[in-house]
């Protein structure tokens, strides 16, 4: 199984969630995040004070899926999150050794 971490624009959380639900992926963790890649920050002046935002608000989605579903899930996220502009975000993959369901100790893919 693989862990998929996707950092996306805040405006894309609903389309990505809906797209994942449509392919039968229900479980995910959503975190509020800030960051930047090549996307520049934002500076605004208000009442003589400077407000610089160099860490742009983002949403991070984390989910663990069985190996055979990884590619489909990655493509679904990328497709739903894409605008074509700098700042669309990134997806990272990492191997997961095991998953355990707390309620009944189920392990492996069936715990996902």
């Amino acid at each position: 199984m693989m862990k998929i971490e996707a950092i996306i624009q805040t405006s894309k959380i609903d389309p990505v969630k809906d797209a994942l639900h449509e392919i039968g992926v229900e479980g995910m963790t959503v975190l509020e995040a800030r960051g930047h890649g090549r996307q520049k920050g934002h500076t605004e002046f208000y009442r003589g004070r400077e407000y610089t935002v160099d860490l742009i608000p983002k949403i991070k989605i984390e989910l663990v899926v069985a190996d055979e579903r990884v590619e489909q899930v990655v493509q679904t996220i990328a497709s739903a999150a894409r605008t074509g502009k700098i700042g669309d975000g990134k997806i990272f993959l990492s191997k997961i050794d095991d998953a355990i369901r707390i309620r009944n100790d189920e392990r492996g893919d069936s715990a996902l």
């Binding site: 805040t10 405006s11 959380i13 509020e32 995040a33 208000y46 003589g48 742009i56 608000p57």
Partner: protein, 864 residues
């Protein structure tokens, strides 16, 4: 001591059969009190049998050894899955090993029946020693009763030792009770009104009932040194309602235990549905929705919580000495109507309740000073409610008091007390629909009415917050011209959840409109409140978009229309989101909302120059024509070419007034009006534009010692200007000298007509004024934006506010051949924030001109 091997099976069969009987009786009758008593009697029977089998065939033997029930078991309140606390009391005569054996075998038999037994053993002398580290034991003794064994031993404990210990250690016991209670309340957000409340530990639950009686018992014991009669612990008028509330909670807890099969006391939504369908705790047969059933819960929990809190607060030992000193100081707040004793309000004269406005003055007093009502005052209020119902305050009078309550720092607590005493729904019947209303939403924590109170509380708390983001929002709150409208909107914004749950905004607007008419609010104020309710989700929704995208910002700015509404809605969103649950407004959200706010505020500033044209804005013209049917073509001529911002910031009545002033220009070319607003004086000038006009106007005010706080200056296509200056009268000239009003207006008129020497007036003023150093240093910033307007160049000047500043800036513009098309002047503490849309010879400023102007301004403002 050895158990009969058949005893266990026999007892198990007996226990199982009787438990089933208790359960079946509860299913049939839903009587919680009968169920807990029945279970108590069952466990008593088991204990008696075990005693006879294992200790002595005589239930009143042996000497020197007794079995006591403590805590809930002692009170005869054994819920289906609650713990069973017992105490083996002895006189120290037995050897340790003998005693331990008795306790072990006895307890083992009970554990074998799967009873959740918590045994303890003590000697009499150990009970007499108070252990500050185990105050819970002393509290549990307050409910002790003898199950079996030496009655004399028990009597010595019950009749002598316990009263002595309680009287001696009441302070420590009550202090511990207070600490435990405050921690418990904190855990549950200090409110009764959770969507899924805990009926045992939550505020207003069974623990609070116990607390109230313990406090009353301890107070009586402290005074009398003996056990008081239980029926004397609470006043008779309260006792019956308290017992009714207890019956309800007992039934609910029994229902939950039987349903869950364990000691789970949370009324989750599924259980609310089932309890409503089974009519748990409710005697009659009419069908009941879950929401309606929950109202039964909340009304009882509210009563229990109120009584517990009052007793906790009134018990002197519960409060540390510093707090008592503080409360003693607060007694100086007493006045002719209200006495303040230990932070609680008493009526000086009961007959004063004949005045229907007295309750409102009392709650205003409460809201201002953060006081509570004494239980006596609450009782008097409740008794007086029928009389008040017959002739309640209404209309403008009611709104006058209500807004003062809403603006006071402890508004939320005052409103909660008004609500619990049924006064709020008497005065605002529209609020009744959301009384204790549960709306099932996974993110919301509280009932709808409590959510509204928490939102109001969140705004008032801004002023005391140390958080970086909260301070920005707190500054916005201080800048609002009519914050009472914001608070009123917060109070009413979710009323529609009761009538139109799928479109609560539409429902809230309908309800709020009725309320606002009844409160006799000015039409423009009604519009503001309705606007806030209508758009209260807009900023939250925008946070789910790209907050830096120009289209997002432009849309928010366009919807808000004015900076005042933008500020109000930003604060509304802050308060509303934070009231969903304590974690809802994350720092991430707060920062994003702030960024969105400043983006939209700047967008509004940069779009101030968009002009109004009647042939394009038919809807606006149609609305104004209905208000001014006789105006005809004069209206079109007056409005044409004025910035759209003018129409958005001016009430229709003000537009009419300005138009009429413009119509009188033929008779007098300088039209001046002066009024006194709530915070500032307001001077309105309507005249034809000419060079140095704005400079002369603001210079005249500076010469009179007036401090301009805000200003707007607009001109229409025909060159008629409408300038409004909001100022404070530093030397109270106008306030203390009525004749000076006319002289002041005449002075403005004469300066603008060239009949008075402004330079001499300013020199005289400067000579007489002492220079006081500023409290904080503000660096000067000049921002020039040539892109935001097609017709003019925007210059923003942020600098140290000082007398005569606006005159110096506007004079410089005039000297540099710049015409002020629009001026938007604001002051924030010691910072002047002035925005000017300038033209030169009817066009934008050339780049070279812009830079020269920047240089001149910086030089002028650096020259003190």
């Amino acid at each position: 001591m050895v158990a009969n091997p058949l005893l266990g099976k026999d007892l198990r069969d007996f226990y199982t059969a009787e438990s089933t009987r208790v359960r079946e009786e509860f299913s049939a009758r839903r009587d919680g009190r009968a169920a807990v008593h029945g279970r108590t009697a069952l466990v008593d029977s088991v204990a008696h049998r075990l005693w006879k089998e294992l200790v002595s065939p005589d239930l009143e033997s042996p000497r020197g050894f007794a079995l006591l029930a403590l805590g809930g078991y002692g009170r005869r309140w054994l819920f289906p899955f609650s713990d069973i606390d017992i105490l083996f009391l002895h006189d120290g005569g037995e050897s340790d090993s003998e005693l331990r054996n008795r306790v072990r075998v006895f307890s083992q038999e009970m554990w074998d029946l799967r009873l959740k037994l918590s045994p303890a053993s003590r000697t009499l002398s150990e009970c007499e020693k108070f252990d500050p580290g185990n105050v819970e034991f002393a509290i549990s003794l307050l409910d002790c009763r003898c199950l079996a064994g030496d009655q004399n031993l028990f009597a010595r404990l019950h009749d002598h030792i316990i009263p002595k210990v309680v009287a001696r250690e009441s302070r420590a016991i009550v202090q511990k009770l207070t600490d435990l209670t405050r921690a418990r309340y904190n855990k549950f957000g200090n409110t009764v009104f959770h969507l899924e409340p805990n009926v045992k530990d939550g505020p207003g639950g069974l623990r609070d009932y116990n607390l109230a009686l313990w406090l009353a018992l301890i107070a009586a014991m402290e005074e009398q040194n003996v056990w008081p009669e239980e029926k004397t612990l609470l006043p008779p008028w309260l006792r019956q309602r308290f017992d009714d509330a207890l019956d309800f909670l007992m039934s609910v807890r029994c229902f939950l235990h039987f349903r869950h099969g364990r000691d789970d006391n949370t009324l989750v939504w599924a259980m609310q549905d089932e309890a409503a369908a089974a009519r748990v705790g409710v005697p009659d047969d009419a069908p009941l929705t879950a929401s309606e059933w929950m109202r039964n819960y909340f009304s009882r929990a509210r009563l229990i919580h109120r009584v517990a809190e009052q007793l906790l607060d009134e018990f002197p030992a519960a409060r540390p000495s510093l707090y008592r000193q503080f409360q003693t100081l607060r007694s100086r707040l007493s006045n002719a109507e209200f006495a303040v004793v230990d932070g609680r309000i008493f009526l000086q004269r009961q007959e004063a309740l004949g005045d229907p406005e007295l309750p409102l003055r009392m709650f205003r007093f409460m809201a201002r000073h953060g006081l509570s009502l004494s239980s006596a005052t609450e009782h008097q209020m409740e008794q007086n409610l029928p009389a008040l119902t017959a002739a309640p305050p209404k209309g403008g009078e009611l709104w006058h008091y209500l807004q003062e309550i809403l603006l006071a720092p402890h508004a939320a607590d005052a409103l909660r007390t008004m609500h619990s005493l049924r006064l709020l729904t008497l005065l605002l019947p529209e609020f009744q629909v959301i009384d204790s209303l549960v709306i099932r939403d996974f993110s919301h924590r509280f009932t709808v009415d409590e959510h509204s109170f928490v939102a109001i509380e969140n705004l008032h708390a801004l002023r005391k917050s140390q958080s970086k983001w909260d301070q920005g929002y707190a500054e916005l709150l201080d800048e609002l011209e009519q914050p009472e409208l914001l608070y009123l909107a917060l109070l009413l914004h979710d009323t529609g959840k009761a009538t139109k749950p799928t479109d609560h905004i539409a429902g809230s607007l309908e309800i709020a409109e009725r309320c606002l008419v009844r409160l006799d609010l000015e039409p423009s104020d009604r519009e503001t409140v309705l606007f806030l309710i209508k758009h209260h989700l807009d900023m939250g929704s925008a946070l789910r978009r790209d907050i830096f995208a120009p289209e997002t910002i432009a849309q928010i700015a366009e919807t808000m229309g004015t900076s005042e509404r933008l500020k109000m809605l930003c604060l509304f969103t802050y308060a509303d989101v934070k009231a969903v649950n304590p974690e809802a407004l994350t720092p991430w959200k707060a920062e994003n909302m702030w960024q969105l706010y400043i983006g939209a505020a700047n967008a509004l500033m940069r779009s101030a120059d968009r002009r109004f044209h009647g042939d394009v804005e038919e809807e606006v013209m149609a609305h104004l024509r209905t208000l001014m049917p006789a105006a005809g073509a004069r209206l079109d001529a007056f409005l044409d070419g004025l910035p759209r911002r003018y129409l958005r910031t001016q009430a229709a009545s003000d537009v009419i007034r300005h138009m009429e002033m413009a119509n009188r220009l033929e008779q007098d070319p300088v039209q001046v009006e002066l009024t006194r607003g709530r915070h500032w004086y307001e001077l309105t000038l309507v005249t034809r534009d000419r060079p140095f006009l704005f400079a002369k106007l603001v210079g005249t005010l500076a010469a009179w010692g007036m401090n301009i706080v805000k200003a707007t200056a607009f001109s229409n296509g025909a060159g008629v200007v409408v300038d409004t200056l909001y100022f404070t009268d530093r030397f109270r000239t106008l306030e203390l000298n009525l004749p000076e009003w006319e002289r002041f207006k005449t002075s403005v008129h004469d300066v603008l007509m060239g009949k008075a020497d402004l330079d001499r007036m300013l020199r005289d003023r400067l000579k007489s004024e002492k220079k006081t150093p500023p409290k904080m240093k503000v660096d000067t910033r000049i921002e020039i934006d040539d892109e935001c307007s097609e017709q003019s160049t925007l210059i923003e000047v942020i600098t140290q506010d000082q007398p005569g500043l606006l005159y110096r800036i506007s004079s410089l513009f005039a000297r540099e051949n710049c015409n002020i098309e629009i001026a938007i002047i604001e002051t924030e503490s010691q910072t002047a924030i002035d925005a000017f849309y300038l033209t030169s010879q009817g066009a934008k400023l050339a780049p070279g001109h812009q830079e020269r102007l920047r240089h001149e301004l910086l030089t002028e403002l650096a020259n003190k």
